[in-house]
């Protein structure tokens, strides 16, 4: 029996109706009685020492209730962060990056808050800042973080935050076996998330509790952070996390919630801070990188060694950037069998926006370098670019990264499918070129997801879980699992998320984990119900539990088949009630693993591009864009395509047009929507094909793997390769704007 909306179908998105009627409530749509409007006080400098903050005039503005400055905060300045507690509530004596908040105003109206912000007088001294890798590494450079903030760290007296070393084998010993060695450097610029919903926060003190609303992806992490900062029990911090209007990693970790919490506690009133789009540029970005790849190959194109150095330029505070850099560097050699690998990664502090998770988690930057260098090697060796990739792919089950999860898919199928869809061997028109690239990213390395499913007496169900549905469609997929396992139509299922007082703990929503980790948890909650239903059936029918089978919404015994709901209704009797199932999915730390955990699965993608280049203007037209992912099982094919195409187009953004531009003083010059360009409907490839390989070989329910990042990993190198074939140009920096391509053409002639 298959209930409507079961696994493998594409029912209407759960929450979709509210999204097309305007009823969906995002944080900024929620108002609290007696709320105050908050605005941030900032200066237009990349780095400066704060001499004084005078709020006298600002306080005179009618309606102003509070101007919070560092002197109103505990001493020393409270700090927080997901990896290091280095981010202060407000700038601590020094503005360390453009837009770092110095003070904040809470007023009865937005206008009053704005007016007061303009009247706060900040006296400051502009300091020289470091805004690039080279500037940060200059031995004479000022330190971004004071050494006292990072005692016991080996690089505390430099701007290097952390070094990571991974790999296997001895390069020196094998170097001689390579017939061909190539070394290249590739750069990847600063880009930002640009979720259409800017970050928004509200905090309301209520009795001995704080209620917090945030656009955050990880409500339980926010709860922990605030509990520690404010010395409150978790039970007294209730986090509401309405479905975010796009996250992409930029909403994973706490940002300004602690500041707003202090403001709410000081005033005793709800305080609301809605960021502008411009301010989000000063809140989140992707780490820019310089990656040096040295590859050794045989004349046949077999990889001998990969020696990679990755430099990630992070911001003034670490946020999750160290994890991004180490996790991505760890898979720098990509989805290939490489006998010897040496990876040296660094994070480098700078006076720029703190960098954080961003779809692909550091991997797109490295993939750009590795895949382009591999193409250059293929050209040098005279080997077909598809062939050089195919011959180095590990077979399924091969432990291509020693000590980690073996290759968990038949990746050659993916590559062949993409090659077929792009017509790799077909003749090319004049002015056109093709490129192909592979991307590989580790899924989650740890995880903990609890869930509760309540099967109600009328055959409807409630699902409680801490996942955030920010567009990936978790509500739908989790409902589908319940529909499948309870045999009830999806319309009778509600998913409750985003309230830490109601839903059980979930570690986080990141790394394409929801279907696999929370999906497994919900599946197990359903199995828990199955067990209870089996006991009911046994009691009602006087049979041994061992002779009763419960599966996929059906109870079977001695020739009889009954829907679960029927058994439950009989079992519950006249008092009614419900059957409650709990699920848990835990992926513990592995202390001996370099990342403290092996990959739950790999996200593997092959992207192939055909592009045309205008030889007068340098404009690139994407003629055809093919992305194929190894998804295990598509629990909801429509949503798989939505994620895959969305990631592909986002990838075209950083490939073709996106870049944050700073001036020499570290000020971001293109904040907002006018001069930071993201793809519109008019920038789509002439043809975009998203396909997937399904072998039901993932660790998630029904063999699913995570899918939301793959097609973004290798967009840039595939486009770069197509441009090279069309023009003969090798461009080693992004984005491939018309001007950059034109400049390269001009240098070539």
């Amino acid at each position: 029996m298959t209930a409507n909306g079961s696994v493998g179908s594409s029912p209407n998105r759960v929450g979709g109706r509210d999204r097309v009627t305007g009823a969906q409530q995002y944080v900024a749509d929620i108002h609290l009685v007696d709320e105050l409007q908050a605005k941030l006080v900032k200066i237009d400098e990349g780095r400066a020492r704060i001499i004084s903050i005078d709020t006298t005039k600002a306080e005179q503005v009618p309606g102003v209730q509070l101007i919070l400055t560092p002197k109103d905060l505990p001493h020393p300045m409270p700090r927080f962060g997901p990896q290091y507690e280095d981010r202060p509530i407000l700038a601590d004596g020094e503005v360390k990056y453009h837009g770092e908040p110095i003070a904040a105003v809470a007023a009865d109206t937005k206008e009053a808050a704005e007016e007061a912000v303009a009247l706060v007088e900040v006296e400051y001294e502009v300091l020289p800042g470091v805004f690039s890798i080279d500037a940060a590494l200059d031995p004479d450079a000022d330190l971004v973080q004071h050494p006292s903030l990072r005692p016991n760290e080996p690089f505390a007296h430099s701007n290097i935050k952390t070094e990571f070393n991974f790999g296997w084998g001895d390069i020196g010993a094998i170097e001689g076996e390579a017939d061909y060695v190539i070394e290249r450097k590739y750069e990847f610029p600063m880009v930002t998330h640009f979720a259409i919903e800017p970050h928004a926060f509200m905090v309301a003190p209520e009795g001995d509790e704080l209620k917090v609303w945030s656009t955050i992806q990880h409500p339980f992490q926010l709860q922990k952070t605030l509990a520690k900062l404010l010395d409150l029990p978790l039970s007294k911090l209730r986090i509401f996390a309405p479905d975010p209007g796009g996250g992409f990693g930029g909403k994973q970790h706490p940002k300004l919630e602690p500041l707003v919490a202090y403001m709410a506690m000081k005033t005793g009133r709800p305080v609301r801070l809605i960021m502008s789009l411009e301010e989000t540029f000063q809140a989140v970005r992707r780490s820019s990188t310089r990656v040096r790849v040295r590859l050794g190959l045989t004349n046949d194109g077999d990889m001998v060694f990969n020696d990679t150095e990755t430099d990630y330029l992070i911001g003034a505070y670490v946020d999750i950037a160290d994890r991004v850099a180490s996790k991505a560097s760890y898979v720098a050699a990509g989805p290939y069998r490489v006998p010897v690998v040496k990876i040296a990664g660094r994070t480098i502090l700078s006076n720029t926006t703190p960098t954080t998770a961003f779809r692909g988690f550091g991997v797109p930057q490295i993939t750009w370098a590795r895949e382009c260098t591999l193409d250059e090697a293929a050209l040098g060796l005279g080997i077909d670019r598809l062939e050089i990739r195919r011959r180095n792919l590990p077979e399924k089950g091969v432990e291509f990264i020693p000590g980690d999860t073996p290759a968990d898919g038949d990746w050659r199928q993916t590559v062949d499918k993409a090659a077929e869809l792009i017509g790799w061997d077909a003749p090319l028109s004049e002015g056109r070129g093709r490129g192909i690239a592979l991307g590989l990213k580790s899924g989650p390395t740890t995880g903990l997801s609890y869930s509760t499913v309540r099967l109600l007496a009328d055959g409807s169900a409630l699902v409680f879980c801490g996942t955030s549905d920010m567009g990936q469609g978790a509500r739908t997929v989790l409902s589908q699992i319940v529909a499948q396992e309870m045999g009830i139509p999806i319309e009778r299922i509600s998913v409750i998320m985003g309230d830490t007082a109601i839903v059980p703990y979930d570690q986080q929503t990141s790394a394409s984990r929801s279907t696999v980790l929370m999906g497994t948890s919900v599946y197990r909650a359903c199995k828990d119900i199955h067990g209870k239903v089996r006991a009911m059936a046994s009691r009602i029918h006087g049979m041994d539990e061992a002779d009763i089978d419960v599966d996929g919404g059906t109870v079977r015994f001695t020739g009889e088949e009954l829907p679960i709901v029927e058994v439950v209704q009989e079992g519950l009797g006249s008092l009614g009630g419900e059957v409650i199932g709990n699920g848990e999915m835990r992926k513990d730390k592995e202390p001996d693993h370099p990342l403290a955990g092996s990959a739950a699965f790999f996200e593997f993608n092959c992207t192939a591009i055909e592009a045309e280049v205008d030889d007068e203007t340098g404009e690139i037209q994407i003629i055809k864009h093919v992305t194929v992912g190894d998804v295990g099982t598509a629990l909801n094919p429509q949503q798989v395509h939505g994620q895959d195409e969305g990631a592909a187009i986002m990838g075209l953004g950083h490939t073709l047009m996106e870049v944050m531009i700073h001036d020499e003083m570290g000020r971001i010059r293109n904040m907002g929507a006018i001069d930071y360009r993201i793809p519109t409907s008019k920038d789509l490839p002439a043809e975009l094909v998203s396909d997937s390989i399904e072998n039901s070989d993932g660790p998630g329910p029904y063999g699913a793997k995570g899918v939301s990042e793959g097609s973004l990993l290798c967009t840039a190198p595939a486009v770069g390769a197509a441009v090279r074939e069309a023009t003969g140009l090798t461009i080693r920096d992004l984005p491939l704007t018309p001007q950059r391509v034109w400049e390269a053409m001009r240098e070539q002639t």
Partner: protein, 290 residues
Amino acid sequence: MKEFSYERPESLDDALRLLAASGSEVEVLAGGTDLVIAMRDGQSQPKVVVDLKRITEFYPSLMWAGDTVTLSATATMAETVDDEGINKHFPALAEAAVVVGSVQIRNRATLLGNICNGSPAADTAPPLLAYDAIIVVAGPDGTRRVEIDEFIVGPGRTALQDGEIAVALELRLPSRPLGSAYERMTRRKGTDLASVTLCATVDDAGITRVAFGSVGPRAWLRTDESGVLADPDASDEAKAAVFEEIFADATPSVRSLRASPDYRRAMLRVLGARAVRRALRRLQELQGVS
């Protein structure tokens, strides 16, 4: 946004009186697509905003009479783009107006506002220069008619004086067959501010006019009377020399985020050649018809 008082006159006289009474602390509002942003940013902090959209004299916004089309201060980009006559006789204007912002912007932004705003990158400035548009200006002392080349002064500056309103824009049908085309360079195919804007016209006497913007403080109009650009048989070198002269005054900003000066200069030549080619083709089509 700072506080201001809002006025909505129903006659031009009333509007002019309001302007006269408010001195320099007044802004006129037509489409508002630039003004509202400026007021929100605090770049503009008027005491009074005078909304022109209820002034009866401004309707109909677009009117043909004889050989002249008059677009009033309330004529939007969308109305300009949708007009058959504009598309037929002033195709480069239609091509420029249709790339100003998005549909939402074009439903609000006015053609005159695009010129009065004084942006060097205004898409419609090059075609209006090339078509010799006349701006009708009303003020306390009556009405004057200003050639657009005189009207455009520099970044954010026009020939408008305090107390004056640009009430209409007039275009006269070309006196002889004229082919024309508009080209622009942007960072993406979707809505974007142009790093080069350019309009070329070619008439049946072989005179080519090239108007271009976004590469200096204002859009310029230049003429090639030698006939070289319009000559299909002229060499690329000869044409390049003419373009060299035409674009001599281009001074693209080194501070711009949108493109480098070198790139802009190079694209002037590329777009110039493209626009002239398309204008010639249109001229030939016209001549084929007549």
